[in-house]
Symmetry: C2
Subunit: 244 residues, 2 copies
DNA sequence: GAATTGACCTAACATAGGTCAATCAATTTT
DNA sequence: AAAATTGATTGACCTATGTTAGGTCAATTC
């Protein structure tokens, strides 16, 4: 089946957790949508706004972010191509966080009503969407643990492992590492650290031989070592079909 | 309608966000369940186990928790009476976190299959369950922000405000404050701090007149002040019906 | 090709919060 | 009621991380 629809990526992602019938699959592909190419740092949703559309990330990276009253930024989740960004606010009146592109990115904008209708009419799609939300919750819990209870080195190692594994699961990581599209300031915002300390910590990991960097490219020469330093286990990512 | 079923609390909670028909409401009440009274610190679910039942908290408090490889504990969410604890793992094969009672608590144990069936057959219930999961996700994001980007005083003030507002929304808070059922060590585990520092910070809040403590009882004499110190806004709790 | 910009990097210093250890107070057990 | 346990409190000290203030370099822009 040629992937003519821009939503093929989404359909594939959804069917990664639950078997979708070919009808279900086709219905996802048939969702109405507009394609947009967005510059880095473009807002897709702003806290306080009513969510009107559901963006699906077709290429590039995006993140969710919140600000304190004093203007400090915390990145609360990262997203790679294929993920639906607005399931989190699909049934809520007002957005509780901001969504921004990290890199230049293509998105498909699906009208909220169309997606809700699809979910209401197709239990298997609803099931898949629910799992997708639950997995995101699980990742959010692990981030809370990471930020609350691990030191800077473990935190950073953990994040690098997570990104590596998630890219790998989407077939987006080469065998020689991956391009991490975040500045050190953004890494700090994701980890609850300052950019300065991220820099120091990257240097530490590098000189310990745990990572090899070349500009934004990261290679992990000994997965087991970085995994141990980062106290990383992929279980919370719930990769693969959920049978039970 | 007399609340004969122990699940009345759950049904009320679900219908807090979405209108349920009386049929839907009755179907929730008719779920098969076993009632248990549990001691403090009893495990309801363990990381790595397959979730087989869905616990609904009828009275008392519970929390979700994760441990690092070194044994540090992070409480990742708090739960008050009326909340369903296992929607988070209802569609996942393996639990990614632990759930424990905080106080002595009564729970209703609903077989996983029964709940899934109900959700599959009643779109309004599915809708309500989804919202309940989404609200929990939103709270999780705010916790990440709180732990990652606020200092100890703001963190603690924020948590105290959140608990006050959630108890109030459930009608569980008196006009003269509430009983916070957590030890200072548990507060630390929820905030990414040590018990010692929680103690110091409580003292600071107290001597600034922002809270009044008597044993575990907390009163907030000037809501606006504590709210400002904690940089708290209740928006992320998404209290009330979601119309859109 | 000078100026500007954004990201990376470094060093010196400051501090919020952690660690350790002791004491006290309240509650439960014997 | 002694003893034991659990949690709260406090003090002295330490360290991981933040802050400030600058550098270097490469990529754009004028």
């Amino acid at each position: 089946m040629p992937e003519t629809s821009p939503l093929a990526l989404l359909a594939r992602k959804l069917s990664g957790h639950v078997a979708l019938s070919s009808d279900d699959f086709a219905a996802v592909l048939a969702l109405p949508c507009q394609i947009r190419t967005l510059d880095p740092s473009t807002y897709l949703l702003r806290e306080g706004d009513p969510p009107l559309q559901c963006a699906v990330l077709l290429s590039g990276f995006a993140y969710r972010q919140k600000l304190t009253g004093e203007g400090a930024r915390q990145i609360v989740s990262l997203h790679v191509a294929g993920e639906a960004l607005d399931l989190q606010s699909l049934y809520l009146d007002v957005a509780d966080h901001n969504i921004q592109t990290l890199t230049r990115a293509e998105v498909a904008l699906v009208p909220r009503a169309a997606l809700r209708e699809l979910i209401q009419q197709r239990p298997a799609v609803a099931h898949a969407a629910m799992i997708s939300v639950l997995v995101e919750s699980s990742i959010s819990r692990e981030w809370t643990l990471n930020i609350g209870r691990r030191d800077a080195q473990a935190r950073l190692a953990h994040l690098l492992c997570e990104v590596a594994m998630r890219l790998d699961a989407q077939g987006l990581a080469g065998p020689d590492g991956y391009d991490l599209p975040m500045t050190q300031e953004q890494l700090g915002d994701a980890l609850g650290l300052t950019a300065v300390h991220v820099n120091r910590t990257l240097k530490t990991l590098e000189s310990a031989g745990l990572i090899v960097r070349n500009r934004r490219h990261v290679r992990i020469p000994a997965w087991n070592l970085l995994r141990d330093v980062g106290d990383f286990t992929g279980r919370y990512l719930h990769i693969g079909p959920q049978h039970a």
